[in-house]
């Protein structure tokens, strides 16, 4: 089958984007960081009564990958979905309302933080069963290929997801049928409190692709330009019917697996390890790369605007009502 191959803005962005674009991408990362920190700061107030898996420290991957996609392209995410949702354009107010269990939430309060979606923006679903979203993303790509609509689907998942057999089942099928899907593995070294070397033999994660004759690439998940460049290449392959790519991007989760706190003191990982990764903060690094193109006043207005947007969204989430219990019986069937 051929797929529509219209020129895409993302393609123009290969290499290092122009300053304006860089500033925009920087702003997106900063915005996600500040939103996540706001969630962390206010979690204890007991308004957000569901698990939250923050992506602080992993923002470059979400922003870099989604910047390579059109709005009409799709992403599927996991329990740790905030950054993907926001980077793909998901509505902030409806996200905050969902985390607060409100009727105005993106799924009406039915899912909470682990089930964020925004279909018009291509955030198809977030599924908190590890790897459960991967075959669904592949099926979405299968449908798009059948419909010849030129769309690309990205499946975001973590380093533990590749331990689930269904990852391999999905990769085998996607590779066999050259589907327009990207397997994007965010390797943050841990599954909850367990380090990857306690769960997997020592070999490069890109070797996983060899089992399925699939193209693979590996990069620094804390380098926005690299994340973006590799994503653009993978998207290009997908759109041109060259099949799927396994993208392995190394990064680090700064906060506890689930919840608002830092947890380097509880003993499963070394403070020093955290400090090293903090040095490689994707946002500070990108800020340095942009340099003077973003001046002090521009920057302070930028964060001020973001903070205002966040306060706005939080106020909305607080004020908007809980769903009526009677709603709970709806939509069991289409």
């Amino acid at each position: 089958m051929n797929t529509v191959a219209a020129p895409r803005k993302s393609l123009s962005a290969v290499g290092s984007p122009d300053p304006k674009r860089q500033i925009d991408l920087y702003r997106q990362m900063l915005r996600i960081r500040l939103i996540e920190e706001a969630i962390a700061d206010h979690y204890a107030e007991g308004e957000m009564r569901c698990p939250v898996h923050l992506s602080i420290g992993q923002e470059a991957i979400a922003v870099g990958a989604c910047a390579a996609l059109e709005t009409s392209d799709k992403v599927y995410s996991t329990h740790r979905c905030h950054a993907h949702y926001l980077a793909k354009g998901g509505d902030l107010k409806r996200m905050m309302a969902e985390i607060c269990g409100k009727a105005a939430g993106c799924v009406g309060g039915r899912g909470g933080s682990m089930h964020l979606m925004d279909i018009p923006k291509g955030v198809m679903a977030s599924i908190p069963i590890v790897s459960s979203s991967i075959p669904v993303a592949v099926g979405s790509a299968l449908a798009d290929k059948r419909m010849r609509n030129g769309k690309v689907t990205v499946a975001f998942f973590g380093d533990a997801s590749v331990e689930e057999g269904v990852f391999h089942e999905s990769a085998n099928f996607a590779s066999l049928h050259k589907l327009p899907v990207i397997f994007l593995c965010e390797n943050n070294l841990y599954s909850v409190y367990t380090r990857i070397d306690e769960r997997q033999p020592n070999r490069p994660l890109t070797e996983l692709a060899k089992a399925h004759g699939m193209h693979a690439a590996h990069g620094d998940g804390n380098d926005l330009d690299e994340c973006h460049r590799l994503s653009v290449q993978a998207v290009e392959r997908a759109r041109n019917d060259q099949g799927p790519t396994l993208l392995v991007l190394d990064t680090y989760r700064w906060r506890e697996h689930c919840g608002p706190a830092f947890d380097n003191h509880i003993g499963y990982r070394a403070e020093s390890e955290f400090k090293d990764w903090e040095q490689r903060d994707p946002i500070r690094r990108y800020r340095e790369r942009i340099g003077a193109a973003l001046d002090a006043t521009m920057e302070s207005t930028m964060s001020a605007d973001i903070m205002a947007e966040i306060e706005d969204a939080r106020a909305f989430a607080r004020a908007t009502p809980l769903p009526d219990p009677g709603q709970a019986t709806r939509h069991v069937y289409a």
Binding site: V107, I119, A125, I134, V166, F173
Partner: protein
């Protein structure tokens, strides 16, 4: 075994009826596609998929690798994206590997998305018995699926209904678990030509009666009908209800029937314990507490796996003779008459062996 075309009088097998249902749906809606193991192989899932690839083109039939969990997830993703996949599992056991996808992503996507997603997916599964298949190739597991709101679980018993319900299932915007008993593929019946739907709306009274209500599913309905025939001859009028749909469950017709007959026998293709019969009896008791004149009877499989040897299965499956015997007990029928009814069933069965749906059936599947 093939169709003897005589207009609406034409008699075909249930397997052929299913093939027609798929064929009609394929012709009507090209967002439908088949996704199965050996989708275009010569055996073509006991004939139910025969020739569909040739007729509609290879891109309407997708070969499914031996990876059930992934396959169901992929079909769900395609369904959410607007396609109408039809999955076929040669045995219900293979679907167990996809259980997480079925009960979470298929059953709950509409709910979790607050109605934004639809999953128009049909998953065919074969249950039941036959030819020494043994403990892992002949289970009947419908209660596992019926437990989950969000799924529709259907079990046709007759060829015409199988075709009409399958077409309805394919048109349905929800995930439908379509359960076929292996022995039924060989059963025959009048089946209309063309595209028609039979609603997925619950039980049907397939034989009217006033003395006892027999509620059965799938192949059990045929056993119940046989039983009702011979009971009739000894002056006992049994009402037979074909459940058809286990989820969403509609017990109203059963409640009405039991209110009339005052007696209830349920026939499960699976285990008695935690089976459909339990839900039926409990629902009847809570809705019409004093309708029953005698203790209800639940028939189904005893508490052990299905052994392969024909030496071990006598008495294992609830058949027409079991039903007649139980009806005789709760209606206190004259034992001489009951024995004559049992005798007649013996004669009907001739020398057909316990592991054969049909005289010509010689395995190896």
């Amino acid at each position: 075994m093939n169709a003897v075309a005589q207009g609406h009088e034409r008699v075909i097998t249930l397997a052929d009826a299913i093939r027609e249902g798929i064929t009609e749906s394929f012709a009507k809606d090209d967002s439908t596609f088949l996704f199965a193991q050996g989708v275009s192989d010569p055996s073509s899932m006991w004939g139910t998929l025969k020739g569909i690839g040739n007729k509609f083109g290879e891109d309407r039939v997708i070969e499914m690798p031996i990876a059930e969990n992934g396959a169901v997830g992929i079909a769900i993703g395609a369904a959410i994206a607007g396609q109408r996949p039809i999955i076929s599992f040669h045995r219900v056991e293979f679907a167990l590997l996809a259980f997480e996808q079925i009960v979470n992503n298929a059953a709950k996507s509409s709910y979790i998305s607050n109605g934004q997603h639809k999953v128009p997916l049909v998953i065919r599964m074969v249950i039941g018995r036959g030819w020494g298949q043994g403990p892992e190739h002949s289970q009947s597991l419908e209660p596992l699926f019926a437990y989950f709101p969000g799924l529709k679980v259907v079990m046709p018993a007759f060829a015409a209904d199988a075709k009409g319900m399958l077409i309805a299932a394919i048109e349905d915007d929800n995930p439908v678990i379509f359960i076929e008993h292996r022995f039924l593929h060989y059963s025959t019946g009048h089946v209309p030509e063309g595209y028609y739907k039979n609603a997925l709306d619950g039980p049907r009274i397939v034989r009217e009666g006033k003395d006892v209500t027999i509620v059965a599913t799938s192949h059990g309905v045929l056993e119940a009908m046989r039983a009702a025939d011979v009971l009739h001859k000894i002056g006992c009028s049994a009402e037979v209800i074909d459940m058809r749909v286990l989820r969403p469950l509609n017990v109203a017709p059963i409640v009405a029937s039991v209110s009339k007959t005052g007696r209830l026998i349920t026939v499960d293709t699976g285990f008695v314990r935690f089976g459909l019969g339990a839900e039926i009896v409990a629902s009847v008791m809570t809705e019409v507490f004093d309708a029953l004149k005698a203790a209800p009877v639940r028939l189904g499989l005893p508490d052990h796996p299905t052994p392969s040897s024909r030496g071990l299965i006598p008495g294992f499956y609830p058949d027409s003779q079991r039903i007649v015997r139980e009806a005789g007990k709760i209606l206190a029928l004259d034992q001489v008459k009951v024995d004559s009814a049992l005798k007649e069933l013996d004669i009907q069965r001739k020398d057909l062996q316990i592991d054969q749906p049909d005289p010509f059936f010689k395995g190896p599947f």
